[in-house]
Symmetry: C2
Subunit: 450 residues, 2 copies
């Protein structure tokens, strides 16, 4: 079942495109899974990709388009006429279609919508455009199977056969009252095992998880994960059933969020990928490097401030990189643990207990590292006893401080409603660099007394 | 629908447990969702939690147990008799039950299995224990709905009513030949809309994605995500259908993998959480701090080697923290982009093109930062022209080098079959620290000529 896109295959496709041999291409690709078509499109340039999108059945290309990188998709859509785009949207679920429309320029949006054949489909798409993309409304699709509580099982099956045509996957059947208010749910399994004459009101499950159109996407993801849901109905402020969010949208959302946090920790501020252009990448990376730079300049000021020490105790300066690296590493470790705990909702106990625990942990690590450094500095770098002791005590103090800062800042940001993930990466490293070096010099001064 | 666990509620539960008031507890908790029960259990100590697990219906507690942290679950299971554990496993899906059994001590495993009432269920669990937990066999459940291609739709519906009893969610109906070989699939929707007299062989979809029991979990996740599958059948080496993996297991797997990569980037080597004990956390964190420490000692040697410079050009040393921070930050950015690209399979083009691109990007960032530092060093720190120019050129060189190292190492590791994520975080920071400082001094020496 493994699909492997070989270079030879891609070359052959490119040859056919160059020869404008549509029949050969259709013969080759018509049986392809949309995800494989998407993989192929990504390997072509955007003119070749556009050629294939125009050529192949829009039942396949519409789904393949959804799998492409946004930038690449945009370049293909730029080459399609409004009516060609509308053909693709006609085949898409409303949530995907709305996402595509939202990416288009305002003037083209209207033209595309006017070209969509199925008027109900078009109206549903327009309706979805109202919602913020990071809410349940922005994630939901209008396609779902709904039955009224007054129906019989037999009538329900008849009605469902009609509705199911438009729904790719029937997860749950939602039960509403005559006004469309969500009352409960019914699984296909329940329907299959119920007597034909029973009324829906007798067999449906009145307990149903749901979210409001304005519920934040993150909360939707949390609920669906916690309760192991594969689909969740979405209601408006009056309790009317208006759509459903399915697990595949949430899987993408979870992956994107994890990637964003990961990038933030690495000092990359936008959602960039390895293949994005240099300008976009610079915009995402340079700001963090500048923060690091100002940290470095701050450290330069501190060293300048302790200049006399450099002449009296020249050995002290050589351990600055060690102090800096350790402070940075400890800070990143502590903040990552806290940020992940916050994201998971698994952080228990109060702030004080948490800080106490991190300090004890830091103390254990600090003493271990201080002992090694103390011995090596004395026997390898020939520092005096007092110098070695200063370095050892400074390392322990810096590690404990770095752990406290790394723990405290994300919790503080979270309490103020700011994404704590910004506090990982260069931000925490930089502040710990400065605090670490300052602490180191202060302790050395205290002990060596210059 | 929001469930909120208040402190008052927890206190009340603890009070009832202290009073051994089982009836009150049952009255309060019997309607609870298992995920909410799990949340409550996490807030109690393990003795209270054990009390509740013994008290409440194992239909609920079995699922709640699966949601708990492994450590906490283990402590509860330690307090249960083999027959009590077997009662819980009786209610679980085979994949979950096998995971629990695998966590138990060898001598208890056999006792628990002997106490499982449903012998077929017990045999299925034992069978699953054979597979490595990071393979499709380790993720799959035995529960699925299978029909033979020779059956009629009506017969199929009858048979399915029987099978569906044991299956929590019917995603797809799998079609096999008379020997049990996987032939295709059928959706509930198809079954619902097919004529009653049709044969399965006429309506089933012969194209079906599947994986082998030995397929790696990562590959299963990739396939399910790529093809938007909610369940995938698993076959043995003879093509016999033996189980299925469902998307909820994959969601957990994806989240865990993302967390692992994130932790690796932060210099934490095991799967630890904020609430794990100090010893476990030290084991996960100290090794990375030691790597950073040796890097710092390496930097100390380099500075010692350039000691004459410290007396002739004392200004040069004060920019070491800046060089170090910048080298570290650039390296982490580059490696994070590459690691993510590798994880996503979105990395295109050959190694040379990739390195060329990262160098150009680094050059742009490097020139920007070098200009700022050059001006500030000259006008704020009063470096000479030559010193300022040395610093500027060193920064550009260090940034380009750091980007190249950050790009090259993960790709190299990946080619050798090592998880490239180890190359993010402290590892890349440390090597860049050393390279960066060495490069800085060498360039300064070249230009200032001491």
């Amino acid at each position: 079942m493994q699909f492997e896109l070989t270079d030879e295959f891609i070359e052959q496709i490119e040859q056919y495109i160059a020869n404008n041999d549509g029949d050969a291409l259709k013969g080759l690709l018509d049986d392809f899974h949309f995800a494989d078509v998407a993989e192929l499109l990504q390997e072509l340039n955007h003119e070749e990709a556009t050629y294939l999108v125009k050529l192949l059945d829009s039942e396949i290309t519409s789904e393949a388009l959804m799998e492409l990188d946004e930038d690449f998709r945009e370049r293909i859509l730029d080459n399609l006429s409004p009516s060609e785009i509308a053909d693709e949207l006609d085949e898409m679920d409303t949530d995907d279609a709305a996402d595509i429309i939202a990416e288009l320029d305002d003037d083209i949006q209207k033209q595309v919508i006017d070209h969509i054949e199925d008027e109900e489909h078009a109206a549903d798409i327009v309706d979805l455009l109202r919602y913020d993309e990071d809410t349940a409304g922005g994630l939901m699709a209008k396609e779902l199977v709904r039955v009224k509580e007054t129906w019989t099982v037999a009538g329900c099956v008849r009605e469902m056969r009609r509705q199911a045509e438009n729904v790719t996957r029937v997860h749950s059947i939602y039960v509403t009252d005559k006004h469309g208010k969500l009352k409960g749910r019914l699984s296909l399994k329940d329907l299959l095992t119920a007597p034909e004459r029973a009324h829906i009101s007798d067999i449906y499950i009145p307990k149903v998880d749901y979210v409001n159109v304005h519920t934040e996407a993150e909360e939707v993801a949390r609920i669906m994960q916690k309760y192991d849901l594969e689909a969740i109905p979405v209601v408006d402020d009056d309790g009317i059933l208006v759509g459903r969010v399915t697990i595949d949208d949430i899987v993408d959302f979870i992956r994107e969020e994890a990637e964003k946090d990961y990038q933030m920790a690495a000092g990359i501020s936008q959602d960039v990928e390895a293949d994005d252009g240099i300008f976009k990448q610079t915009r995402a990376r340079l700001p963090w490097l500048l923060i690091g730079m100002f940290g470095g300049l701050g450290a330069a000021s501190i060293i300048t401030g302790f200049q006399e020490m450099m002449s009296t105790f020249p050995k002290i300066i050589i351990f600055v990189p060690l102090i800096q690296a350790t402070a940075g590493n400890v800070g990143v470790q502590s903040s990552a643990i806290v940020v992940q705990g916050l994201a998971n909702d698994s952080l228990k106990g109060n702030l004080f207990a948490r800080l106490l625990k991190e300090s004890s942990l830091a103390l254990v690590n600090g003493i271990a590292i201080a002992l090694v450094v103390l011995i090596i500095s004395h026997f390898v770098f020939f520092t005096t006893y007092l110098e070695s002791i200063s370095i050892g005590i400074a390392i322990i103090t810096v590690i404990v401080l770095a752990a406290l800062i790394g723990t405290f800042i994300p919790i503080l940001l979270d309490k103020r409603g700011i994404d704590p993930a910004v506090a990982t990466g260069p931000f925490i490293t930089t502040s710990n660099d400065i605090f670490g070096i300052l602490t180191y010099f202060l302790i050395a001064k205290l002990i060596l007394g210059f």
